[in-house]
Protein backbone atom coordinates (compact mmCIF):
# COMPACT_ATOMS: atom_id res chain seq x y z
CA UNK A 1 0.00 0.00 0.00
CA UNK A 2 2.93 2.32 0.73
CA UNK A 3 3.86 2.75 -2.91
CA UNK A 4 0.22 3.34 -3.79
CA UNK A 5 -0.27 6.23 -1.41
CA UNK A 6 2.99 7.99 -2.28
CA UNK A 7 2.13 7.60 -5.98
CA UNK A 8 -1.28 9.12 -5.29
CA UNK A 9 0.24 12.03 -3.39
CA UNK A 10 2.67 12.72 -6.25
CA UNK A 11 -0.23 12.65 -8.72
CA UNK A 12 -2.26 15.10 -6.61
CA UNK A 13 0.69 17.49 -6.26
CA UNK A 14 1.20 17.39 -10.01
CA UNK A 15 -2.48 17.90 -10.64
CA UNK A 16 -2.87 20.77 -8.21
CA UNK A 17 -0.23 22.67 -10.19
CA UNK A 18 1.17 23.95 -6.94
CA UNK A 19 3.92 26.46 -7.48
CA UNK A 20 6.98 26.78 -5.19
CA UNK A 21 6.87 29.98 -3.10
CA UNK A 22 10.27 31.12 -4.47
CA UNK A 23 9.70 30.51 -8.19
CA UNK A 24 12.32 31.18 -10.84
CA UNK A 25 11.57 33.83 -13.47
CA UNK A 26 9.93 31.44 -15.96
CA UNK A 27 7.62 29.89 -13.39
CA UNK A 28 6.83 33.34 -12.02
CA UNK A 29 6.00 34.71 -15.48
CA UNK A 30 3.80 31.71 -16.18
CA UNK A 31 2.03 32.16 -12.82
CA UNK A 32 1.63 35.92 -13.49
CA UNK A 33 0.17 35.21 -16.92
CA UNK A 34 -2.40 32.78 -15.56
CA UNK A 35 -3.30 35.03 -12.64
CA UNK A 36 -3.78 38.05 -14.93
CA UNK A 37 -5.95 35.86 -17.19
CA UNK A 38 -8.08 34.69 -14.26
CA UNK A 39 -8.49 38.26 -12.96
CA UNK A 40 -9.40 39.49 -16.45
CA UNK A 41 -11.98 36.72 -16.79
CA UNK A 42 -13.72 37.58 -13.53
CA UNK A 43 -13.54 41.35 -14.08
CA UNK A 44 -15.21 41.03 -17.49
CA UNK A 45 -17.79 38.60 -16.03
CA UNK A 46 -18.80 41.10 -13.35
CA UNK A 47 -18.86 43.88 -15.93
CA UNK A 48 -21.17 41.72 -18.05
CA UNK A 49 -23.43 41.03 -15.08
CA UNK A 50 -23.77 44.74 -14.30
CA UNK A 51 -24.30 45.72 -17.94
CA UNK A 52 -27.06 43.12 -18.51
CA UNK A 53 -28.63 44.04 -15.16
CA UNK A 54 -28.64 47.71 -16.12
CA UNK A 55 -30.24 46.85 -19.48
CA UNK A 56 -32.92 44.79 -17.69
CA UNK A 57 -31.63 41.62 -19.34
CA UNK A 58 -30.31 39.91 -16.21
CA UNK A 59 -32.13 38.22 -13.30
CA UNK A 60 -31.03 39.62 -9.95
CA UNK A 61 -30.66 36.18 -8.20
CA UNK A 62 -28.45 34.98 -11.06
CA UNK A 63 -26.29 38.09 -10.86
CA UNK A 64 -25.89 37.71 -7.10
CA UNK A 65 -25.05 34.02 -7.39
CA UNK A 66 -22.46 34.56 -10.13
CA UNK A 67 -20.97 37.60 -8.33
CA UNK A 68 -20.31 35.36 -5.35
CA UNK A 69 -18.37 32.86 -7.51
CA UNK A 70 -16.47 35.61 -9.30
CA UNK A 71 -15.44 37.23 -6.04
CA UNK A 72 -14.31 33.90 -4.54
CA UNK A 73 -12.37 33.00 -7.69
CA UNK A 74 -10.68 36.39 -7.83
CA UNK A 75 -9.74 36.26 -4.12
CA UNK A 76 -8.24 32.78 -4.56
CA UNK A 77 -6.21 33.83 -7.61
CA UNK A 78 -5.03 37.00 -5.87
CA UNK A 79 -4.02 35.15 -2.70
CA UNK A 80 -2.15 32.47 -4.65
CA UNK A 81 -0.18 35.17 -6.49
CA UNK A 82 0.59 37.71 -3.76
CA UNK A 83 1.94 35.02 -1.40
CA UNK A 84 4.74 34.30 -3.90
CA UNK A 85 8.23 35.76 -3.35
CA UNK A 86 9.03 37.22 -6.79
CA UNK A 87 12.56 36.91 -8.23
CA UNK A 88 14.28 40.28 -7.87
CA UNK A 89 14.17 40.81 -11.66
CA UNK A 90 10.38 40.72 -11.48
CA UNK A 91 9.68 43.15 -8.61
CA UNK A 92 8.06 45.75 -10.88
CA UNK A 93 5.81 43.14 -12.47
CA UNK A 94 4.85 41.74 -9.05
CA UNK A 95 3.93 45.20 -7.70
CA UNK A 96 2.06 46.12 -10.88
CA UNK A 97 -0.05 42.96 -10.96
CA UNK A 98 -0.67 42.97 -7.19
CA UNK A 99 -2.02 46.52 -7.46
CA UNK A 100 -4.33 45.61 -10.34
CA UNK A 101 -5.53 42.54 -8.43
CA UNK A 102 -6.27 44.73 -5.40
CA UNK A 103 -8.24 47.19 -7.51
CA UNK A 104 -10.17 44.34 -9.12
CA UNK A 105 -11.04 42.92 -5.68
CA UNK A 106 -12.34 46.27 -4.45
CA UNK A 107 -14.36 46.92 -7.61
CA UNK A 108 -15.99 43.45 -7.55
CA UNK A 109 -16.88 43.91 -3.87
CA UNK A 110 -18.39 47.31 -4.72
CA UNK A 111 -20.37 45.72 -7.54
CA UNK A 112 -21.69 42.99 -5.25
CA UNK A 113 -22.88 45.56 -2.70
CA UNK A 114 -24.50 47.67 -5.43
CA UNK A 115 -26.39 44.67 -6.83
CA UNK A 116 -27.34 43.55 -3.32
CA UNK A 117 -28.93 46.97 -2.77
CA UNK A 118 -30.25 47.12 -6.36
CA UNK A 119 -28.62 50.53 -6.82
CA UNK A 120 -28.86 50.42 -10.65
CA UNK A 121 -27.80 54.09 -10.91
CA UNK A 122 -24.24 53.12 -9.91
CA UNK A 123 -23.93 50.31 -12.49
CA UNK A 124 -22.74 52.33 -15.58
CA UNK A 125 -19.92 53.99 -13.62
CA UNK A 126 -18.86 50.61 -12.17
CA UNK A 127 -18.95 49.01 -15.63
CA UNK A 128 -16.63 51.72 -17.03
CA UNK A 129 -14.14 51.27 -14.16
CA UNK A 130 -14.28 47.48 -14.53
CA UNK A 131 -13.72 47.69 -18.29
CA UNK A 132 -10.81 50.12 -17.83
CA UNK A 133 -9.21 47.76 -15.33
CA UNK A 134 -9.84 44.81 -17.66
CA UNK A 135 -7.98 46.57 -20.50
CA UNK A 136 -4.98 47.13 -18.22
CA UNK A 137 -5.02 43.46 -17.27
CA UNK A 138 -5.32 42.54 -20.94
CA UNK A 139 -2.29 44.66 -21.85
CA UNK A 140 -0.28 43.13 -19.01
CA UNK A 141 -1.35 39.67 -20.20
CA UNK A 142 -0.29 40.53 -23.76
CA UNK A 143 3.20 41.54 -22.57
CA UNK A 144 3.58 38.32 -20.56
CA UNK A 145 2.45 35.99 -23.31
CA UNK B 1 -23.33 -32.37 -30.98
CA UNK B 2 -26.06 -29.80 -31.53
CA UNK B 3 -27.17 -29.29 -27.91
CA UNK B 4 -23.71 -29.50 -26.37
CA UNK B 5 -22.95 -26.55 -24.07
CA UNK B 6 -19.55 -25.02 -23.40
CA UNK B 7 -19.93 -24.41 -19.66
CA UNK B 8 -17.53 -21.47 -19.29
CA UNK B 9 -18.80 -19.71 -22.41
CA UNK B 10 -22.52 -20.51 -22.26
CA UNK B 11 -23.50 -21.48 -18.69
CA UNK B 12 -21.26 -19.79 -16.14
CA UNK B 13 -22.20 -16.17 -15.26
CA UNK B 14 -25.57 -16.47 -17.01
CA UNK B 15 -28.66 -14.94 -15.39
CA UNK B 16 -31.04 -17.42 -13.73
CA UNK B 17 -34.73 -16.52 -14.02
CA UNK B 18 -37.67 -18.41 -12.52
CA UNK B 19 -40.60 -19.80 -14.45
CA UNK B 20 -42.36 -16.46 -14.73
CA UNK B 21 -39.22 -14.51 -15.58
CA UNK B 22 -38.34 -13.08 -12.18
CA UNK B 23 -34.58 -12.69 -11.74
CA UNK B 24 -33.14 -15.13 -9.21
CA UNK B 25 -29.32 -15.03 -9.31
CA UNK B 26 -26.34 -15.64 -11.52
CA UNK B 27 -24.75 -19.02 -12.26
CA UNK B 28 -21.74 -18.31 -10.05
CA UNK B 29 -20.43 -21.90 -10.36
CA UNK B 30 -21.52 -25.41 -11.38
CA UNK B 31 -21.50 -28.53 -9.19
CA UNK B 32 -19.97 -31.67 -10.74
CA UNK B 33 -20.50 -35.09 -9.18
CA UNK B 34 -18.34 -38.15 -9.82
CA UNK B 35 -20.55 -41.11 -10.65
CA UNK B 36 -19.69 -44.83 -10.80
CA UNK B 37 -19.61 -44.56 -14.62
CA UNK B 38 -16.45 -42.52 -14.06
CA UNK B 39 -18.08 -39.49 -15.64
CA UNK B 40 -18.65 -36.02 -14.13
CA UNK B 41 -22.35 -35.17 -13.95
CA UNK B 42 -23.75 -31.66 -13.51
CA UNK B 43 -25.96 -31.96 -10.43
CA UNK B 44 -26.57 -28.31 -9.48
CA UNK B 45 -25.95 -24.64 -10.19
CA UNK B 46 -24.23 -22.75 -7.36
CA UNK B 47 -25.01 -19.11 -6.56
CA UNK B 48 -23.95 -16.37 -4.18
CA UNK B 49 -20.61 -15.07 -2.85
CA UNK B 50 -19.80 -18.53 -1.51
CA UNK B 51 -19.53 -19.75 -5.10
CA UNK B 52 -18.36 -16.50 -6.74
CA UNK B 53 -15.53 -15.84 -4.25
CA UNK B 54 -13.24 -18.68 -5.37
CA UNK B 55 -13.79 -17.74 -9.02
CA UNK B 56 -12.59 -14.17 -8.34
CA UNK B 57 -9.48 -15.74 -6.90
CA UNK B 58 -6.66 -14.21 -4.91
CA UNK B 59 -6.93 -12.52 -1.53
CA UNK B 60 -9.97 -10.54 -2.61
CA UNK B 61 -11.88 -13.64 -3.66
CA UNK B 62 -11.16 -15.38 -0.37
CA UNK B 63 -12.24 -12.29 1.53
CA UNK B 64 -15.54 -12.19 -0.38
CA UNK B 65 -16.24 -15.85 0.36
CA UNK B 66 -15.20 -15.75 4.03
CA UNK B 67 -17.06 -12.49 4.81
CA UNK B 68 -20.20 -13.92 3.28
CA UNK B 69 -19.78 -17.21 5.15
CA UNK B 70 -19.53 -15.31 8.43
CA UNK B 71 -22.64 -13.22 7.67
CA UNK B 72 -24.69 -16.11 6.35
CA UNK B 73 -23.54 -18.50 9.06
CA UNK B 74 -22.67 -21.28 6.58
CA UNK B 75 -20.01 -22.01 3.98
CA UNK B 76 -22.13 -23.92 1.45
CA UNK B 77 -23.22 -21.55 -1.36
CA UNK B 78 -26.79 -21.25 -2.64
CA UNK B 79 -27.72 -24.41 -4.55
CA UNK B 80 -30.21 -24.78 -7.39
CA UNK B 81 -30.55 -28.50 -8.10
CA UNK B 82 -30.43 -29.47 -11.78
CA UNK B 83 -33.92 -31.01 -11.59
CA UNK B 84 -35.48 -27.55 -11.26
CA UNK B 85 -33.76 -26.22 -14.43
CA UNK B 86 -36.16 -25.96 -17.38
CA UNK B 87 -33.86 -24.65 -20.11
CA UNK B 88 -30.39 -23.21 -20.78
CA UNK B 89 -30.21 -20.47 -23.41
CA UNK B 90 -29.24 -16.82 -23.23
CA UNK B 91 -30.56 -17.13 -19.67
CA UNK B 92 -31.07 -20.21 -17.47
CA UNK B 93 -34.80 -20.64 -16.91
CA UNK B 94 -36.12 -22.55 -13.92
CA UNK B 95 -39.23 -24.72 -13.93
CA UNK B 96 -40.10 -23.53 -10.43
CA UNK B 97 -40.81 -20.30 -8.55
CA UNK B 98 -37.81 -18.50 -7.12
CA UNK B 99 -39.01 -18.93 -3.54
CA UNK B 100 -38.66 -22.68 -4.04
CA UNK B 101 -34.94 -22.44 -4.64
CA UNK B 102 -34.61 -19.75 -1.96
CA UNK B 103 -31.09 -18.66 -2.86
CA UNK B 104 -31.53 -14.94 -2.26
CA UNK B 105 -31.23 -14.70 1.51
CA UNK B 106 -29.53 -11.31 1.28
CA UNK B 107 -32.47 -9.97 -0.79
CA UNK B 108 -34.97 -11.13 1.82
CA UNK B 109 -32.82 -9.70 4.64
CA UNK B 110 -32.53 -6.31 2.88
CA UNK B 111 -36.24 -6.25 2.10
CA UNK B 112 -37.47 -7.05 5.58
CA UNK B 113 -34.83 -5.07 7.47
CA UNK B 114 -34.56 -1.85 5.47
CA UNK B 115 -36.62 -1.41 2.30
CA UNK B 116 -39.96 -2.54 3.77
CA UNK B 117 -39.55 0.12 6.47
CA UNK B 118 -39.52 2.95 3.89
CA UNK B 119 -43.02 4.28 3.05
CA UNK B 120 -44.20 3.45 -0.44
CA UNK B 121 -42.16 0.28 -0.73
CA UNK B 122 -45.25 -1.82 -1.40
CA UNK B 123 -46.59 0.49 -4.09
CA UNK B 124 -45.98 -0.01 -7.79
CA UNK B 125 -44.14 3.05 -9.18
CA UNK B 126 -46.55 5.38 -10.98
Amino acid sequence: MKVGTSGLVALLVLLSGCVPSNPDTDTFDDKSLRTAGAALSQTRTVSGLLQTSYDGRMLRPTALAQLRYSEDSLDTATGAFTELNPPSARDAQYTRLSTLLGEAGDLVAEARIAVERSEEARYPRLVDRLDALASKLERLEGRLR
Amino acid sequence: MSDAIDANLELLDRQIVDHDGAMVAKVDDVELEERDDGRLHVTALLTGPGALGPRLGGAFGNMVASTWARLAGRTEPGRVSWSSVASVGIVVTLAVDRTTVAVDGFEVWMRDRIIAAIPGSKVLPK
Binding site: - | A7, L32, E34, L40, S83
Partner: protein
Protein backbone atom coordinates in the same frame (compact mmCIF):
# COMPACT_ATOMS: atom_id res chain seq x y z
CA UNK C 1 -19.78 -41.06 -0.26
CA UNK C 2 -20.57 -38.93 -3.32
CA UNK C 3 -17.50 -36.93 -4.42
CA UNK C 4 -18.41 -33.42 -5.64
CA UNK C 5 -16.31 -30.77 -7.28
CA UNK C 6 -16.84 -27.32 -8.67
CA UNK C 7 -16.43 -26.52 -12.33
CA UNK C 8 -14.09 -23.69 -11.30
CA UNK C 9 -11.67 -26.29 -9.93
CA UNK C 10 -11.48 -27.98 -13.34
CA UNK C 11 -11.12 -24.74 -15.33
CA UNK C 12 -7.54 -23.60 -15.56
CA UNK C 13 -6.04 -27.01 -14.66
CA UNK C 14 -2.69 -27.91 -16.21
CA UNK C 15 -2.87 -30.51 -18.99
CA UNK C 16 -0.05 -33.10 -18.92
CA UNK C 17 0.30 -35.08 -22.14
CA UNK C 18 1.33 -38.75 -22.34
CA UNK C 19 4.90 -37.69 -23.17
CA UNK C 20 5.08 -35.63 -19.98
CA UNK C 21 4.93 -32.24 -21.70
CA UNK C 22 2.53 -29.60 -20.35
CA UNK C 23 1.97 -25.82 -20.57
CA UNK C 24 -1.58 -25.94 -21.94
CA UNK C 25 -4.53 -25.35 -19.62
CA UNK C 26 -8.26 -26.23 -19.56
CA UNK C 27 -10.06 -23.17 -21.04
CA UNK C 28 -13.59 -24.59 -21.19
CA UNK C 29 -15.53 -27.76 -20.44
CA UNK C 30 -17.96 -29.11 -23.05
CA UNK C 31 -21.14 -30.61 -21.55
CA UNK C 32 -23.39 -33.00 -23.44
CA UNK C 33 -26.84 -34.35 -22.52
CA UNK C 34 -26.56 -37.49 -20.40
CA UNK C 35 -29.10 -39.80 -18.80
CA UNK C 36 -32.81 -38.83 -18.32
CA UNK C 37 -33.44 -37.70 -14.76
CA UNK C 38 -36.46 -36.27 -12.92
CA UNK C 39 -36.93 -32.69 -14.06
CA UNK C 40 -37.42 -31.07 -17.48
CA UNK C 41 -33.81 -31.28 -18.72
CA UNK C 42 -31.60 -34.31 -19.20
CA UNK C 43 -28.58 -34.28 -16.91
CA UNK C 44 -25.49 -32.78 -18.51
CA UNK C 45 -22.25 -34.74 -18.49
CA UNK C 46 -18.68 -33.57 -19.09
CA UNK C 47 -17.98 -34.74 -22.63
CA UNK C 48 -14.71 -32.98 -23.44
CA UNK C 49 -12.42 -30.06 -22.74
CA UNK C 50 -11.32 -27.03 -24.76
CA UNK C 51 -7.59 -26.69 -24.08
CA UNK C 52 -5.05 -23.97 -24.93
CA UNK C 53 -3.00 -21.08 -23.56
CA UNK C 54 -4.76 -19.07 -20.84
CA UNK C 55 -4.80 -15.79 -22.72
CA UNK C 56 -7.28 -12.91 -22.66
CA UNK C 57 -10.34 -13.30 -24.81
CA UNK C 58 -11.21 -16.91 -23.90
CA UNK C 59 -14.80 -15.82 -23.26
CA UNK C 60 -15.09 -13.86 -26.47
CA UNK C 61 -16.04 -17.11 -28.19
CA UNK C 62 -14.08 -16.44 -31.36
CA UNK C 63 -12.52 -19.90 -31.33
CA UNK C 64 -15.93 -21.50 -31.33
CA UNK C 65 -17.73 -19.00 -33.60
CA UNK C 66 -14.96 -18.54 -36.20
CA UNK C 67 -17.07 -16.32 -38.48
CA UNK C 68 -17.96 -13.85 -35.71
CA UNK C 69 -17.09 -10.26 -36.62
CA UNK C 70 -15.70 -7.65 -36.44
CA UNK C 71 -12.74 -8.53 -38.63
CA UNK C 72 -10.26 -6.56 -36.51
CA UNK C 73 -11.04 -8.47 -33.31
CA UNK C 74 -11.26 -11.81 -35.09
CA UNK C 75 -7.68 -11.38 -36.32
CA UNK C 76 -6.33 -10.28 -32.91
CA UNK C 77 -8.14 -12.91 -30.85
CA UNK C 78 -7.63 -15.58 -33.51
CA UNK C 79 -3.89 -14.99 -33.32
CA UNK C 80 -3.89 -15.15 -29.50
CA UNK C 81 -5.81 -18.42 -29.55
CA UNK C 82 -4.16 -20.19 -32.44
CA UNK C 83 -3.02 -23.09 -30.16
CA UNK C 84 -6.51 -23.85 -28.85
CA UNK C 85 -7.55 -27.46 -29.37
CA UNK C 86 -9.92 -30.07 -27.98
CA UNK C 87 -9.78 -33.23 -25.85
CA UNK C 88 -12.57 -35.80 -25.73
CA UNK C 89 -13.46 -37.35 -22.37
CA UNK C 90 -11.96 -40.65 -23.57
CA UNK C 91 -8.60 -38.89 -24.04
CA UNK C 92 -8.46 -38.11 -20.30
CA UNK C 93 -6.59 -40.74 -18.31
CA UNK C 94 -7.29 -39.22 -14.88
CA UNK C 95 -7.88 -35.87 -13.15
CA UNK C 96 -5.68 -35.14 -10.12
CA UNK C 97 -7.94 -32.63 -8.32
CA UNK C 98 -5.40 -31.85 -5.57
CA UNK C 99 -2.39 -31.21 -7.85
CA UNK C 100 -4.80 -29.60 -10.36
CA UNK C 101 -3.44 -31.61 -13.27
CA UNK C 102 -5.36 -33.43 -16.04
CA UNK C 103 -3.37 -36.47 -17.23
CA UNK C 104 -4.03 -37.18 -20.93
CA UNK C 105 -3.46 -40.32 -23.03
CA UNK C 106 -2.61 -38.29 -26.16
CA UNK C 107 0.55 -36.30 -26.95
CA UNK C 108 -1.29 -33.50 -28.76
CA UNK C 109 -4.69 -31.81 -28.98
CA UNK C 110 -7.48 -32.63 -31.42
CA UNK C 111 -8.79 -29.95 -33.79
CA UNK C 112 -11.51 -27.86 -32.11
CA UNK C 113 -15.02 -28.68 -33.50
CA UNK C 114 -17.27 -25.55 -33.31
CA UNK C 115 -19.92 -25.88 -30.56
CA UNK C 116 -22.91 -25.20 -32.88
Amino acid sequence: MTVRHRLNDLLGMQVRYADGTDGDRVIDVRLAPGPRVPGPMAELVVDGMVVGKMRPGTLFGYDRHPTQGPWLLRQVIGFLHRHTGYLEWADVERIDWDARVVHVRRTSLRKLPPAR
